[in-house]
Every structure is written in C-alpha cells, then in structure tokens.
Symmetry: C2
C-alpha cells in the first residue's frame, strides 16, 4: 500500500487531494502518514480521522492543545510548529503533496525529497526561489518531482514519451486576468475589487491579483525554465482567455501538442497522484462544439511588466528568483492594503531586483536554502523601504 | 543505412516523401530500393536517378520501353505492371511508403509487411477495406504500421507514451468542406466546382469532393476504428473549420491531448519517416496569436450522411468497409461526371450497403484479400446499376 503525506492539507489543493483520496477508497487504499494544515484545526482533525493519518501537524504551536483535543481517541498523533512540520516531512512517504502556500512550503518539500519518492509540487515558490537547488536534490536522492500547477502538468503531459531535446518551444497559456480588456492607461487606477473579478478560475485573492498582473504567469515561466530545463528563449506566453488549453509544447518537427481540459485542479492533482497511469477522474469533460471557440492573443509587455521581469530573473538565475518572489509578495500586500496602485507592483519588484543586484551573485550550484531564506528576508525589507519611500514622495 | 521504398512516388504524398529524403541527404543517407509511379514517367525516372533507386516501376506495361529509355545509363532497373509492382514490394526494405491512391494500393502494402519493417500508410483504402486483415498480418510479421494521414498521425502522436486502455475518446477534426456553410436544402444542387472550393488544404479533386461530403472523414473514422482498435462509440467527429488541430485524444482523467500544426503533409510524412524521433522538418510554425481563434461545431448528420453510414460500416466490419469504399468511388465518379447530384452520393452508397448486406457476412478473421477484391468489384457493379436505375427513374 502506497504511503502518502499532504503538506497544506486544508488549503484548496490539499482539500482536493483529500477528496481524490477519499474517492479512491481513502484509508483502505492508501496509508496516510502526515497531514499538515494552518488554522483550520477542525477540518485538519476531521481529515486526519477520515484518512486515519499517523500524524496531524498544525502551523502554530499555540494551537497544539486544541488539535490534541480534537484528535482525542482517534489514534492520530498531534504536533505543531515549524520544527514539527520538518519532522513530519522526515517521515518516509512514497508520495508527498507539497501544497503549503508561500515561502514556508519550500523547506518541508525539500526535506521530503530525501525519501527518494515522489514530490507532487503545488508550492510555486519552491522552483522560483530555489529551482537549481531543488532539482539537484531530487536528482541526488533519485526522487521524482511531478508538477501540480495546471500549466506545468499540461506541459509534463505533452512531453510524455517524448525527447526533451526535440522540444523547440513551450507555450504557456494565460487567461490575461480580470483587467485584460481594460485600456492600458486605466490600469494604474484599478482597485482590488476590479482585479479580483477573474473570468475562469475560482482561486484565492492573492493568486487572482497575481493573475491580473500576470505575476502568476511570470512565476510559472520561471518554474518552467527550472523544472523542464529549457532555455528562457524557448518559453513563450500567450493569452488564451478561455483557459481551456492549459499549455502547449512545440517540437522541432512543427508539431504542437496541446493539453486541454476543464478548469478543475483535480485533474492536475489526480494526474500526479496516479502517474504514470491515467486513472478515471471526476472532472467535467470538454465539449468543444458547445464551447465553440478558443481565442488567442499576444501579451503586451507594457501591460504586463511581470513578464519582462521574469526574463531578467531567468537570465540571472541564482538567487534572483527568491528576490523576485519576495518583492512580489510585499508589493501584493501593499496593493491589497490599498497602499500602492496596481501598476506600482511591477515598479516595486523591478526596483528591488535593481537594488539587490550585487547580493544575487551566488552561483546556481553553490546556493543553499539559507541563502534563499536570507535573500527572501532582504528583498522583503527592501520592498518595504521602496514602498515607504514612494509613499513619502507622493 | 536504412533501406526505403516508395509506392506511389509521383503522387502528392510520394513527391513530398522524396522532398524530405532529398533534404535529409538523399542517396547518401538512405538506400532507396523501389520507386513506383503512374503515368508521369519523366518524373519517376528523374526521382529514381536522384535517389539512385535499385528499381523504378510504372503502372502500365505499355510504358516500359519509355521508362527504360529514360533510365538508360543510370543503373536503375525498369519494370512495369501490377506483377512488377508486387515483385518490387517483395524486395526487402526497412521503411516502405504506401501512397498509391485507391484500391490498387492495398496489395503492395500488404506484401511489404512481410519484411517486418515499417509501413508508412498513406493509402486510405487499405485500412477501410481490409483493416482486420492488414493489422493481423502486421502483427504476424512483427511489422509496424505508421499512419500518414494528418488526422491519424495526430492521434498517434497524442498517444505517444500513453496506455490505449486509458483512452476515453478520439476526436477527429474535419474542416467541414467547401459547402459547410450552405443551407442544407441547397446542397442537392451543388456543382462540382462549388464542392471543389476547399478552404484549407490544396488536394486532388476526388479528395476535395470527399471532404465536402465528409466521405473522407467517414473513411478516416473507419480507419481510426481499425488502426487504434477503439470501439466505434469512442470515436467522435467535430467540425473545426481552421483545420489547425489535426485531431485529439481524450483520456479517462479528463485530459485532451490535441495535435496542432500547419496544414502541410510533410509533417505527417516526416513524423513517420523519423519515428520514434522527431527530427527538424521544413514546415511552417503556428503562430496562434496571429491566428487568433480556433472554432468548433458539431457535424449535422443530415448534411453529412457519410458519417452515419460510417457507423453502420463499423458495426458490421468484415467486408462492409470494402463495399462502402467501392460504392463511394463509383458515386464520386458519377458526381464528377455530372450524372448524379451531391446528395445522391450518400443515397447510392447506402443503397449498395443494403443490397449487398447478405454478401458482407465474412468474419473479420476469415476474410482474405481475394474476398476484399471480390466485394470491391461487386459493389462497383451494384453502384453502377443503382445510378443507372435512378437516372432511368428521372
């Protein structure tokens, strides 16, 4: 029986992973090792009972007592805090879902690679901030990383049975976000509510804003470069408002293999769960005749500076991804709080990359997790300073 | 050095195969065994000289003297006629292109399977009329058949590295042909010239009419059933006027893998030539942003009775494909000659299938090439009679 751990079980990806496990037979078909969650202790305890997990870990040590109470009599061990999270990652599991959101997801995923099993990677920050490190560790441990983002899962699927040397280009699709049809001169004044009106996917607030600014796509471009090992100039982005083609791979014989499907993350999660098999999944089937049309347009780099910045990060590599991601997070915080405008986010990130340029010089094969964390910290500081300086100038 | 033969070298597919071989280095990189052609002796002789073929075979024995003269001093052997064609197919070759148009292409391809190499199959009739026979012979001889039609090549490519058991559906795309936007009540009066105005592909007259009537798609549906071994109900047809998605495979996890590319047969030919590798090919690359949109609609079975008849043929199998194909050929002849109307073609084929029903009872595993030829002959006779009877009634 395959052993499974889920990091970030109570988030959206975690919930859908648990849903698929329960549909597949739950505790009867999988041995669940660790489930970790944030603040939703009731749900975490419920999942742990349903799946008969060995251990449930919550983020905050102050919640340990309540988690213990909720698990009383279940036989599920309770633990809490960052150290407990890493200890849970050290428990061997054949398949580990890394779905903790943000920089906090990096370390547990990295540790889980040591078992030499499969890491299903939904945490975007891992590859963006520490791609070379993570891929090298996976190779060293003979572990396998499977992408869970719909775009990277699509690319991975379009590469099944193919030779990466025959790849000419990878084409990431982007919805273009809520503001894609706005006149460019109005973007600076876009409000949070306006940027949140995403047309296709129902997602959290942060990622929906990142979709409108295409910072999300910029992260995915960097992930694509790190995960698939292609050259930056082989990666293209195309706006595809219907979001039904999840990405494409173009080969040197002119073929483009495109992956299509309903916008349902359970497909990508289920693909990673069942790989290398394709098991039946409870997702809607596309009816292209009813859909009628799929449209495409080139992204405007004026409108989406994040895409331009992603190219700079890819050219630089090393610790540039960590700085980019951290600066983006801070800029997003300030936009959500009403402190800066929509188009200011790109300016803040660009300024951070500029000011940190001398600090990003670590070679890809010399950087450590500590370097990544240090640059993350530094970039957040600098981004905060830049925002305050801008506010002072106004 | 790989040995290659091309049956139907002077036709459109043959010409493009020769083009790719010459670009790949011609006689220096491949040992060309046999080239066969129809009436264009000058071109056949020129190709044979360029590729330093062992033997060139023309269709008509009366042309042998001229072919010999054209090959004088080249060291290329000349031969002519159906027996010579089969003898050429008996010469061992690692890779054989079967691109003779029509029922005449069946026997040489069948014979070439005996070498246990690769048969690149462009001849549509082979699978439609003798699918069970051909696939069984390939299995027995441990030979491999690679599809060259753009649709079947697309499906084949969407299946690379995948398990056929995970396939839920195969979606063949169809341009819908020249008359797809006509009001259905006007179709009966469509002229040959009108049906020839195909929007995307430049093809021969016969196949362009078959595209307008979707008899071509009906043949491809039957081929799909025979080649990939899926159930008839797993095969769907969708109208996709831009013809840039060449076909799709839907899996049981909800994924659809679609193959896209420029409408250039050199892609499918080159794919079969280089398989399992993807070598660089001189075909245009798709620029989806410039293309802007891809559209889809369901085919109307009233408008395209050929699709309904294909389902009947698939339900029946055995010799029904041979009867269907032969009746279609005769109906097409009469439409091209102005003897019957556009919508009469479907009526003639349906009537032939009905009248021949008792003759089509041969089991798939008992039928022979002779049975196929006999039913082909009989169906042509019956179709002629039906056309004459219809003409008499008018």
């Amino acid at each position: 029986m395959r052993s499974i751990s889920i990091f970030g079980a109570t988030g959206s990806i975690g919930e859908q992973t648990v849903d698929l496990l329960l549909r597949a037979g739950g505790a009867g078909t999988h041995r669940v090792v660790a489930l970790t969650g944030g603040r939703n202790l009731a749900r975490l305890a419920e999942m742990a009972r349903l799946l008969r997990a060995e251990i449930a870990v919550c983020a905050d040590p102050r919640d340990l007592r309540e988690l213990r109470e909720r698990l009383a009599g279940s036989g599920v061990e309770a633990a809490a805090g960052p150290e407990a999270l890493l200890e849970a990652a050290d428990r061997p599991a054949d398949w580990v879902m890394s779905a903790i959101v943000g920089a906090a997801g990096l370390a547990p995923g990295f540790r889980a690679l040591r078992h030499g099993g499969t890491l299903a990677l939904a945490n975007k920050e891992s590859l963006v901030t520490a791609g070379p490190l993570l891929m090298a560790e996976a190779a060293r441990q003979r572990a396998r990383i499977l992408p869970v983002d719909s775009e990277h899962s699509a690319i991975f699927q379009a590469l099944v049975g193919e030779d990466i040397a025959a790849v000419e280009r990878i084409i990431l699709t982007a919805s273009g976000g809520a503001l894609r049809d706005w006149p460019i001169e109005r973007l600076a004044a876009a409000t949070v509510a306006e940027a949140l009106a995403h047309p296709n996917w129902t997602m959290g607030h942060r990622i929906t804003i990142d979709s409108a600014s295409m910072f999300n796509k910029a992260l995915e471009v960097i992930e694509t470069r790190e995960f698939f090992g292609v050259a930056p100039e082989q990666i293209e982005v195309i706006i595809h408002p219907e979001s039904l083609i999840h990405s494409m791979v173009g080969y040197r014989d002119g073929a483009i293999m495109a992956h299509m499907g309903a916008p349902d993350m359970r497909h990508s999660i289920g693909y990673a769960l069942n790989w290398p098999e394709r098991a039946p999944l409870p997702v809607a089937r596309l009816d292209l005749a009813r859909i009628g049309q799929l449209t495409f347009r080139a992204p405007d780099l004026q409108r989406y500076p994040a895409l331009r910045l992603a190219r700079e990060v890819m050219a630089r590599r090393g610790l540039a991804g960590a700085a980019f991601n951290a600066a983006k997070e801070v800029a997003l915080d300030h936009f959500l709080a009403g402190g800066i405008g929509f188009m200011d986010m790109g300016c803040v990130v660009e300024a951070v990359l500029e000011v940190l340029d001398p600090e990003l010089g670590r070679e890809n094969d010399r950087m450590t997790l500590e370097d990544v964390q240090a640059v993350d910290h530094l970039a957040r500081q600098r981004a905060g300073e830049i925002v305050r300086r801008q506010a002072g100038e106004r």
